[in-house]
Symmetry: C2
Subunit: 193 residues, 2 copies
């Protein structure tokens, strides 16, 4: 019987790896035009599938962004645990900024809970893992009820990353400046470890 397919892709009917492809295309589309202009239909066209294919995999647009944020938290946890051993607080802060600049679309979406299904199971699990990886070596540096210092450190690197991504701060070398900036907070704290 003759195929009635409009999108008669010569390869296969089943894409095989569509979910991952869609996530990657979403990240690059957001990096180009921002999350506000992200279109499910344009995304589908970009991946070479029909417009309802993304909805099948992610439920809805928020589900797509939830999956992207989950992936982001996983990558962040991985990035943070990568400098777990030798590096001090500053190195960990720089790694945070490095992640934000390397995965700007993920980073942006991760901190806009209104775009997500914020109570999604995998999302909250990945988020908890990332939080755990983040707080390693921070709360322990200045112990006691002084976790305000941890909030300060997080705020500093998060703010710097946000300002750079928004274009409010335009450094020559972001990671280099991140190191300097983080140094202003840490001062003797890193030495007293």
């Amino acid at each position: 019987m003759k195929s009635l397919l409009r999108y008669d892709r010569t390869v296969t009917y089943h894409h095989g790896d569509l979910r991952r492809t869609l996530l990657a295309e979403t990240a690059s589309a957001i990096a180009e035009d921002g999350v506000a202009k992200l279109s499910m239909r344009a995304l589908a066209k970009r991946a070479g599938v029909s417009n309802a294919a993304p909805t099948y995999h992610f439920g809805d647009k928020s589900g797509l962004l939830t999956a992207l944020a989950t992936e982001g938290y996983d990558r962040l946890a991985e990035a943070m645990s990568g400098v777990d051993e030798g590096g001090g607080l500053i190195d960990r802060g720089v790694a945070y900024v490095e992640f934000a600049l390397a995965c700007p679309s993920h980073f942006t979406v991760m901190f806009q809970p209104r775009l997500l299904h914020d109570d999604d199971g995998e999302l909250t699990a990945a988020r908890q893992r990332a939080w755990a990886a983040l707080s390693v070596g921070v709360a322990t540096t200045r112990s006691g009820p002084d976790s305000d210092f941890g909030v300060a450190a997080w705020s500093l690197v998060h703010g710097y990353a946000t300002l750079v991504l928004s274009g409010a701060v335009e450094p020559e070398d972001a990671l280099r400046q991140a190191r300097i900036v983080a140094g202003h907070l840490v001062e003797g704290a890193d030495r007293s470890r």
Copy 2:
């Protein structure tokens, strides 16, 4: 002749203060449901006018958000110049956070240039005024090529505000914690003025 109006508002045909009303409604709508779910038509209905009325005043949706961001920069400049005299660096940082929490919709939009007509004249002018008001007393505290300290201070308060607004940090008393957090960066810098 009988009026053909569908929206036969008993008051006046001309609203009289529609632009300001739309800006206020926009701010509260974003505060409730986020900027992604902001609808020009719903906004118009909420203000009791036809769907094309907002477009007349702001050109398009980006124009509306540009006007909101401009208003935000003006309010920020005002808030920062309010603590210009007596207060030190910490007070200025707290004022920044206070503004962000008091005007979350403005603050959010101000740092998402993709949503705006970023080269708009009034926007860039208001932004420059705010930047000027921000850098007062920061670059001068630690002079020389050490404006990296200014970036650090800005990053700290901006990051803290962002994290609180996104729900990533949930303090009992945000302004109190902001003061403590800012204290970790400033340390002796404020004393040496």
